[in-house]
Every structure is written in C-alpha cells, then in structure tokens.
C-alpha cells in the first residue's frame, strides 16, 4: 500500500512539475497516435462508405473478415510489419524499423478495420431516404455522399475516437516496431513497461495517470457522440 501511495505522490509531483521526459513521452505518443488515426480515417471512412453502399459478391465474407480483424493482437501486427521492414524484409532498404513511421504503419493496420467497421455500422443506421432525397433534389453522387457523411457524422466521429483510444493504449506495435528509443519512439505504454521492468514506479504511474486521463477524455467524447446519435435516432 505504501509503495502505491509513494508512487502516486511522486507521479503527482512529476505531473505538477511538468517533467520534461514525461512531456516528451506524452508528445511522442500523441503525435504517432494522431497521425495513425488520421491516416486510418482517411482510408477507413471512404472504405466503410463504399462497402455500405455497394453490393458485391463476398460482401458478407468481407464484413466477417473485418470483424475478425478487430480482435487482431497488436503483437501479430508487429511481427507482420517487422517481417516487411526489417533489414532482411521487402522494404528493409527504407530503414523504417525503430522509427515513428514504423509505429504509425503498424497502428494504421491495427485500426483501419475498426474505423471501417464502425463507419459501416454508422452509415447503415442512416435512413436510405437521405440518399433518395439528395438524388431526387439533383445531387451528384459525390454530393449525396457528403449528405450521408454529414448525417452519420456522430457515428463516424465515434469511430475515429474509438480508433484513437485503441492506438494510444496499445503497447505491442510500439515496442516491436518502435524499439522504445528514448525521445524518439518511446510512447507512454512502452515507457510504462520499461519503468516497470526497472522497478521505477513513479514515472510509470505518472504516465499511467496521463494515459488514463486521455482515455477518460476520449471515452467522454465517445459517449457524447453516441449520446447525440441515439438522441437523434429517437
């Protein structure tokens, strides 16, 4: 109990004093997570839209695959990407391994299925009359898509927030592809794992508190969006 209280006290002091190492770790975490979420959203939202509004052979199978990929362990993605970007890998010459770019690649692969699946769910809840109404009022296909995205914005927003929450809290990809290099690829989760190994709990707890605060903020936003979506549906 004393250990926990001492750790909490030290962590609180680190947070209040804005410890530079802590700030760098938080900044790296936020940077890679925001970039990977943006890339995954740019790819996943249009994909979700395409899958929702097109009918093709194997659509059900694709949806099943997407749902399966939601449960993909981060270490599996880490291994897979490692195989491609390590020196002996296909893209070894690009020297991506142990860089932030490598973490971003892994995280994008992790959350694209999540963004796509949640976008499909958000769009499929949108009444088909929006599509018909936009078209009969003279909208082009692109303008119709914008209408649907606007109407599904809360659901899509929730998908993006959920994806961000997933990447900021993951540890496997960051550790395997980033290498936990201090000041460069050390994220909150990898730093916590390292500090735990060293038996230094203060920084680990401070990072844990920061991570939980960010996760709590994300969840608040998520519930806000979901609440708006349900309120609109009622």
């Amino acid at each position: 109990m004393d250990l926990l209280l001492d750790s909490l006290h030290s962590a609180f002091l680190l947070l209040v004093s804005c410890d530079p190492e802590l700030l760098v770790i938080v900044a790296v975490s936020l940077e890679v997570s925001i970039i990977s979420t943006c890339i995954a959203s740019l790819f996943g939202i249009p994909c979700g839209f395409l899958v929702s509004y097109s009918s093709f052979f194997g659509k059900r199978f694709l949806l099943t695959c997407l749902n399966t990929l939601l449960a993909l362990p981060t270490v599996v993605i880490g291994l897979l990407v490692y195989a491609f970007i390590s020196r002996r890998g296909m893209f070894g010459s690009l020297e991506l391994l142990y860089t932030q770019k490598a973490i971003i690649i892994g995280q994008v692969i992790l959350i694209i299925p999540l963004v796509t699946s949640l976008t499909i769910a958000a769009i499929s809840r949108i009444d088909n009359r929006y599509r018909k109404t936009a078209l009969t009022l003279g909208a082009t296909q692109f303008q119709m898509v914008l209408v649907i995205i606007k109407e599904a914005r809360y659901g899509i927003g929730a998908a993006v927030i959920a994806a961000f929450g997933r990447v900021i809290a993951e540890v496997g990809i960051s550790m395997m592809l980033g290498g936990n290099a201090r000041g460069f690829t050390r994220t909150m989760t990898t730093a916590m794992a390292l500090e735990y190994d060293k038996g230094e709990f203060s920084l680990a707890v401070a990072l844990g508190l920061t991570l939980m605060t960010i996760a709590f903020g994300m969840n608040l936003l998520f519930h806000f969006f979901q609440g708006r979506t349900w309120a609109d549906a009622v």
Binding site: R129, Y130, K132, L135, T136, G138, K150, D232
Partner: protein, 343 residues
C-alpha cells in the same frame, strides 16, 4: 408528351412488382395514381424519378429515351422531384433544407435566399425559416419537403401519398398548393394516393395500378366478388347477400370463383321511385353527395358503398338528397370482371 413507357417491368426478389405495357403522361397535367397497398405505385414513381431503373422495357422522358449512365441520369433527375410518402428532412434549419437543391445546382449566393423565402411563403412555412427541421410536425415536414422540391422549379413533381398521415387542415393546404403550382407554373404532377376523392378533385387523369399493372378502369367501385356460371350461359356475380349481378359472358376469360369486379360509376343509372327496367338493380341510401370537378358524385349504401357519377343536368333533374332511398341500375357494359390476383 412527358413520359412514355413501353413494356416496363420491375422485379423484386423474383416477383414482378411492375408490369406496364404502355403508359403515356402528358405535360402540364395532374395525374392521380391510385391503387391498393403493394400495387406498385411507389415503385412506378421511383422509376419515373429515375432513382431506379426498370429490369425490362423502355422509358422515354420529354421525347428522348432515358439512359441510365451517370451523366444522363443527373440531367433527367434535375427535371423531376419525388416527394416521399414520409419525407425526411436533413439535419439543420428549415432554410438549409429548402436551399439544398439550389446549392447542389451551384445557384449563386443571393438567389437562393430569395427563392427559399418565396417557396416557404408558398407553403405557408415562412415563419419556420430558422426552425430546426427535425423538430417539425408531420404536416409541417411535408410542407417543408414540398417547398424543398419546389425551390428547384421542377418540370415534374411526383408525390407519393402527399397527404398520408397528415391532419385534414394540412391535407387541404397541401392539395391546394399542388393545384396552384400546376395552374401557375404548369408543373406536371403525378400523385400516388389511396384517396380516390383526392384524385377526382385534383387530377386531370386517373391511372389505376393493380398488382403492378395499369388498368384504365375500375378506380371506383372495385369490389371482391364470387362468380358462378349459370345454365343459360350467363354469369352470376355475387358481391354480397343483397348485391348480385347477372352478366353475359365476357370475351376475355372463363372466369369463375373469387374475382374482382369494377363498376363504372359514370354508367350507373339512378332513379327515385321508378322501377328500373334492368334486372341488375340495387336499392340503397344516399350517404354523401360531393362535387368532383364537373361531375357530381353520390355515395350510395347498398350493402356496399357504391359511387355513382352524375352530370350536373342529371343531378338537377333527379335531385337526390342525403338519406333518401334510391334505386341503382347497373348496365352490363358498366361491369368489368378480372381475376382476383394477377400473376
């Protein structure tokens, strides 16, 4: 000629929901499309709005064949607006909804504001300009949806049950607006409705859909019946215990068993206190008298509610009153039989 359809069919899940051999709609007219639930009214309107394409057949619009590639579709779609039975308004204020069609057409900034005010005033919703579109009542939503459609000045307005789920006051307002639009701007209107009286009041022509097929007759007085062959070659058509018809065999079919019978209201003769000569005579009480364009329409309760159409001179001559007993004479040429279900 506005629309011309030739052997138009639409199939859903292996079932032919629309099968129209020939269909012509003229410009600047109001058409009422009547039929029971599932008759294919909404499917036909969706095809006429170019929101779906037929499985077979050819549709011509404004004299030209309709092609279903993206560019051609956009061109024809922008001349037609379909008002849904349950219109959905976009999130945001009313004015933004009404402006939508103008915005997607790239109409310059100031013009939409003027047009939005004009059409909102036309439907009596100008006070709701800044209101949240999602918080309007059913009738108000329909009027805003109508304004949204009218804002783009379409050549054709297709209305799917424009007065469904709307109170009587709003029904009158909506029908009045449709009439005015047609008279003032020449916009052609095709209106699907269950209410035959609405069709009569408003439409220049009535189109009747039954099981996906257009029928030129029978939009009034359509009843289920049981047909039996009689020894002398006649058919006995039993509508209920008190309403029977003796008919000569019709050319098209050997009908027997459950069928549908249509009785042309314009050919029914009515008389007071005079025994009709025809064998097909029913007695009933006048329930309602109404004016339908240039005709007078009586609703007579003979066990079935039978509509009788009189021209004004015949009406003045006979002067039937509500509650009065009258005799109806149903001539053989006013009766059409058809199978109950068309496959």
């Amino acid at each position: 000629m506005l629309y011309k359809a030739d052997r138009l069919t639409k199939v859903f899940a292996g079932r032919k929901v629309l099968d129209i051999v020939n269909f012509v709609v003229e410009k600047h007219k109001i058409y009422a499309l009547t039929g029971a639930n599932g008759a294919g009214k909404s499917t036909l309107l969706t095809l006429l709005a170019f929101l779906d394409q037929p499985d077979q057949g050819e549709l011509r619009f404004g004299g030209s064949k309709v092609y279903y590639d993206r560019d051609s579709l956009l061109q024809v779609r922008r001349q037609v607006v379909l008002l849904d039975q349950y219109p959905i308004l976009f999130t945001g204020p009313v004015w933004k909804n009404v402006e939508f069609g103008l915005k997607v057409r790239g109409v310059k900034r100031r013009q939409p504001e003027q047009r939005v005010s004009e059409v909102l005033a036309l439907v009596g919703m100008e006070k709701f300009c800044d209101a949240d579109a999602r918080k309007l009542s059913g009738g108000e939503s329909k009027r805003v949806a109508l304004a949204r459609g009218l804002a783009v000045s379409p050549d054709v307005l297709l209305c799917d049950e424009p007065t469904a789920n709307v109170d009587e006051e709003n029904q009158e307002i909506i029908l009045d607006i449709l009439k005015r639009i047609n008279a003032e701007t020449g916009t052609s209107i095709i209106m699907a409705t269950h209410y035959l009286s609405q069709g009569r009041q408003l439409a220049d022509h009535s189109l009747i859909l039954s099981h996906g097929k257009l029928s030129g007759r029978g939009h009034e007085n359509s009843f289920r019946c049981n047909v039996m062959q009689e020894r002398d070659g006649l058919l006995l058509c039993e509508l209920n215990d008190s309403c029977r018809l003796h008919l000569e065999k019709q050319q098209d079919a050997e009908l027997s068993g459950p069928c549908r019978v249509y009785i042309d209201p314009a050919k029914i003769c009515c008389s007071q206190g005079v025994s009709p000569i025809s064998a097909n005579q029913w007695t009933g009480k006048v329930l309602r008298i109404e004016q339908a364009r240039e005709h007078i329409l009586l609703t007579v309760d003979c066990g079935l509610k039978v509509k009788v159409q009189l021209d004004p001179s015949a009406y003045q001559e006979q002067n039937p009153l509500v509650g009065e007993q009258i005799e109806l004479s149903i001539p053989g040429d006013s009766v059409f039989l058809s199978p109950l279900y068309n496959s």
